[in-house]
């Protein structure tokens, strides 16, 4: 019985993968220019990088940056919001042309998609409640507590690789959340002791949730953030990198950072 299901699933997946091989014909950049439109995916639930304002419009550091990039590519910009976990797959399958959603480089991801040059460098942060009385001097101290993290992020990868897989921390003590705000709530009520996230959203969280503070900040894993591009789309990558370099040189990105990251 079991075997039959697995077999059927394998067949379905086989068909699926066979279908996907044919997708990547012709250059993505050509396609974008021909359509005069670039479709960009983001997960608009990660302020201040990407979120929605009171009118339901997408705003944020990444959003504004991407709008400028599209303008300089001289194409219209079509936003496609989807959950963070779906973005890489969507780029891979050509459902979207690229994705900007506070992505950090990782080797695992690099096997599936390509990355632009970094457009910003961020830090990691550990958040605790004001009443936190444990010992926390180095990041590895997190292993002694119940830790929460947004699933699929590089912080998740760091905790998994450096603490859980290294045997310092039990898997049961690591809670993975779909979104970081869920984790913040659990931290407030004491279901977890520590929340690890990117430094920028961490700042937003401690300013909006009562009784939370950042106990440690540093560049562990996050570091540079990049735009995710389809695997092998060299001309598109070159174009995006060129624009990022220009924007950096012009001070556009620094101005954006001041607008969104200094509270």
């Amino acid at each position: 019985m079991k075997f039959r299901i697995v077999l059927a699933l394998a067949i379905v997946l086989g068909v699926l993968l066979a279908g996907c091989q044919q997708a990547g014909e012709g250059s993505v950049l050509d396609k974008i220019q021909a359509a005069n439109k670039v479709v960009v995916g983001t997960s608009a639930d990660y302020p201040p990088y990407e979120y929605i304002d009171e009118t339901g419009k997408m705003v944020g550091f990444d959003i504004e940056l991407m709008e400028e990039i599209a303008k300089r590519m001289d194409v219209a910009l079509d936003w496609q919001d989807m959950p963070f976990d779906s973005l890489i797959a969507a780029v891979q399958e050509g459902k979207i042309d690229m994705s900007i959603s506070c992505f950090n480089y990782s080797e695992e991801r690099d096997q599936l998609v390509d990355f632009s040059d970094p457009y910003y460098t961020s830090q990691d942060a550990f958040i605790v409640t004001d009443g936190f009385s444990g010992t926390f001097t180095v990041p590895e101290d997190a292993a002694n507590f119940k830790v929460g993290v947004q699933s699929g992020t590089v912080q998740d990868e760091w905790l998994t690789a450096e603490l859980v897989d290294a045997g310092l921390m039990s898997e049961a003590n690591l809670s993975r959340y779909e979104r970081v705000d869920q984790a913040a709530l659990d931290l407030q009520v004491g279901r977890i002791d520590i929340l690890m996230s990117d430094d920028v959203p961490a700042q937003a969280i401690v300013s909006q949730y009562d009784g939370l503070k950042i106990i440690y900040q540093g560049m562990l894993y996050t570091g540079p953030i990049n735009i995710v591009l389809p695997d092998g789309a060299a001309d598109l990558q070159a174009e995006v990198n060129r624009i990022i370099a220009d924007l950096e040189a012009e001070g556009f990105i620094d101005a954006l950072a001041v607008k969104y990251f200094s509270e």
Partner: protein
């Protein structure tokens, strides 16, 4: 923060939820009806195929199927996430609806078929005029369950980027840091949709009930 606006933003996802449901449910019904007829009356090979279809489709979490089907359905044809999601959910639902209808078909006694054949009806005609109308009535109640499930499962298309109620609630939750408000609003909307649907189907069930002496 303007709470009213946010609630309105979440509520405007209802159109997607309703549309997805209105595509997925009838599609699932259509496929489920055909598949269940093949299952019950189709002979050994078709029965086997349908049984495998049912087991596979129901044995995998809907979200996994949604992903597989999304990329399969819109692999080469360029379907929007909305259509791909709706069709995928319809296919997922077809397996459940097939089982509901199959159960209803089997609960109409085989003797009804014999009586229909005895007045010269062909098998097809007997199925159409005698078996299905009776099975249909028995299927309404369990079908009402499936309708509720599809309404709620329609939220899964958020994973493909369709801005329905749940995804909007997530975005509001992230942007306002007020998850309770966002999810309570979403929950209430789902509840209303399911409630109204169930009442309508209850009404249909009562209207269609075959009169009998107590």
């Amino acid at each position: 923060m303007d709470v009213g606006r946010f609630i309105q933003y979440i509520a405007s996802g209802t159109a997607y939820t309703v549309s997805v449901t209105l595509i997925a449910l009838p599609l699932g019904l259509f496929l489920g009806l055909i598949f269940s007829l093949l299952y019950v009356y189709g002979g050994k090979v078709l029965t086997r195929i349908m049984s495998i279809y049912s087991t596979v489709m129901r044995g995998i979490p809907p979200i996994v199927l949604l992903f597989i089907l999304y990329f399969m359905v819109s692999g080469n044809i360029n379907l929007s996430p909305f259509w791909a999601g709706s069709i995928s959910l319809g296919i997922v639902s077809s397996a459940y609806q097939m089982e509901i209808i199959r159960g209803a078909l089997l609960s109409v006694s085989g003797a009804q078929m014999m009586a229909a054949r005895a007045i010269g009806m062909s098998r097809m005609r007997a199925i159409k005029h005698i078996i299905i109308p009776q099975a249909f009535r028995m299927a309404i109640c369990p079908w009402s369950n499936e309708a509720a499930i599809v309404i709620k499962d329609s939220s899964l298309v958020y994973a493909l980027g369709v801005p329905e109620i749940l995804r909007r609630a997530q975005l509001i939750s992230a942007s306002t840091q007020q998850p309770f408000l966002a999810f309570i609003v979403a929950g209430l909307i789902y509840f209303m949709l399911v409630f109204v649907t169930n009442r309508l189907l209850d009404g249909l069930d009562k209207r269609m009930r075959i009169p009998a002496n107590p």
